[in-house]
Subunit: 322 residues, 2 copies
DNA sequence: CTGAAAGCGCTTACAG
DNA sequence: CTGAAAGCGCTTACAG
């Protein structure tokens, strides 16, 4: 039998309420009493029964993290830090990978409504109908839901501008953009906007392929891009997966990198993953994860939160630019 | 306010016990009564409060899945199916990636002892001390703990034999083995045994590199192997990551595959991952996941379980053998 | 500062 | 087959 708060109270010669107060670190306990209780807890090796705690507080201490796929360095790394940060606050996180299944978002909303979980971080881009979301503790990365959903993002516009200009300064004359357009409003769209703005500034003709696609399609889209714009000498790629395939497609086509073709990618480079020395815009994944978790926990507790958090990326030079 | 069992009871004009019985599908309820209750549940849109359920049943309905890394097709796929299967039984799964941290196993054991989670699936290979594990609901994949820990594995020995003989039948004369030795007793060791047995049978000299290594070291071990045994014309690789690096190292060294060098790998090929047409021994990951979850749930409920479950692999021909 | 008591929403013997 | 009641282990007003 586990030792309960009752056992501790009896051993310490106090009421259960007092024990509870000590456990929860409330100030209104006398020093002597507190000592006695702590001692009793130590002796009896007490640890709080979370099931009772949850019922009483009407909180599960569980959040969900919904990602499109887990087989992906960005999402995997994000998941790792989300888990770590949530743990600090006593929350467990269940990982859900939607794997193209649109209804996973609805499923999670239902779980929140049924109080199986307390809230969720959505990193997916499916649901169009935003009605349901409004009252649930949900936060997001990159995606701009309605006004009620706080999210964390990176400085997509500025970082993309900088990256593209970097290539141009190093001689690129025909700069292309390869991306995967999100289904719903997302800060990721800022990358396209930045690209088009730079093209206009330099009076360059856009060479862009940025369509809605599912995870998995990237494999064929990258070669398509190279076929459609065989003359590009610089490409900005939006996202890890595409960047890997583009690199391969370019090599396949006989391009020398970076001499014939420079590449910069958002999330292009991960240690121990694929081409690891690609010049890239590196998102502060750890920080994004920690912030998004803290936002969510605030939301769960009904506290006020910042609606849009923008974190700074880092431009990391690799071997794919001159 | 959520509707509770009380509301349903009142609406249906029965006692709360009866409602509970209907919810839990107990037979001892009259048809008429059952109908009334179901109707009330529908009307009031009732769903069980899991927090109360957990307290009452002394079960969290949460299990943990501990993997070495999540950035890996085998583990990612496993995680997906573990989650799916657990969900069918009402369990959520929290994903923990140990990321080289040896103490994650202990951490999980502690969580089980503190009743924060009900049990765990260990796919890691760290903990030597098996004392703690014995009384916890823990199951494993491949790893052979003490007698109390049930596990699921694949037919490592037979599959490896078959794979190696396949290469030999197609002309390989100097067959090597590249693997990563687990830290603790594991069925994975059967692969080495199979290899050595076949070598003996064919009176071939072993060319083996099978050492303890951490995730991440594979990158340098594969080239090491090719350097040490430059004359191999067939290699059996134990594990996905190594297989990718070996392939690259071989190409780097100017080998033509499969003409100069045949390769077969355990877990060599995953759709959309790395070299996807490698000849390989394919583990039934989905089935392994589902079985291991069912084992764990039985263990949680104190039921008898099979200690060792062996599932059949599939030999899949790709482009890396003749 | 502290104790006794109510109650969170369920399940489960216990009677009938 | 069914209801009333006890109890799971906590937290939290309420008195003092």
């Amino acid at each position: 039998m586990e030792t309960t708060i009752k056992d501790v109270a009896k051993y310490a010669g106090v009421g259960v309420g007092t024990v509870s107060r000590v456990i929860n670190n409330e100030k209104a306990v006398g020093d002597k009493t507190r000592e006695k209780v702590l001692e009793a807890m130590r002796v009896l090796n007490y640890s709080r029964n979370n099931m009772a705690f949850r019922l009483r507080k009407n909180e599960n201490l569980i959040i969900a993290l919904l990602v499109p796929v887990i087989n992906h360095p960005f999402f995997a790394k994000l998941a790792y830090y989300v888990e770590d940060e949530a743990g600090k606050f006593g929350y467990s996180v269940i990982l859900v990978s939607s794997q193209q299944k649109v209804d996973k978002e609805t499923e999670i909303i239902t779980k929140i409504k049924h109080r199986e979980i307390d809230g969720a971080v959505f990193v997916t881009h499916y649901m169009h109908d935003e009605e349901d979301l409004q009252n649930c503790p949900i936060v997001s990365i990159d995606r701009t839901f309605g006004q009620d959903i706080p999210y964390v993002t990176s400085d997509n516009y500025d970082a993309t501008r900088e990256a593209i200009r970097y290539m141009i300064e190093r001689g690129a004359k025909k700069v292309g953009f390869l991306g995967s357009k999100p289904l719903v409003a997302s800060e990721v769209m800022e990358r396209e906007r930045a690209y088009l703005d730079v093209m206009k500034e330099y009076a360059m003709q856009p060479r862009m392929l940025n369509e809605v696609m599912q995870h998995g399609e990237e494999m064929s889209i990258a070669p398509d891009f190279m076929e459609r714009y065989p003359d590009v000498d610089g490409v900005f790629v939006s996202g890890y997966t595409l960047s890997q395939f583009l690199y391969e497609a370019a090599i396949e086509q006989g391009k020398r990198i970076p001499d014939d073709l420079q590449i910069v990618s958002y999330d292009g480079s991960f240690k121990q993953w694929g081409i690891s020395n690609m010049t890239s815009v590196e998102q502060p994944i750890e920080e994004m994860a920690r912030q998004v978790v803290r936002l969510l926990i605030k939301k769960i507790h009904g506290e006020q939160t910042c609606q849009r958090t923008v974190l700074k990326t880092k431009f990391v030079l690799g071997a794919t630019t001159k």
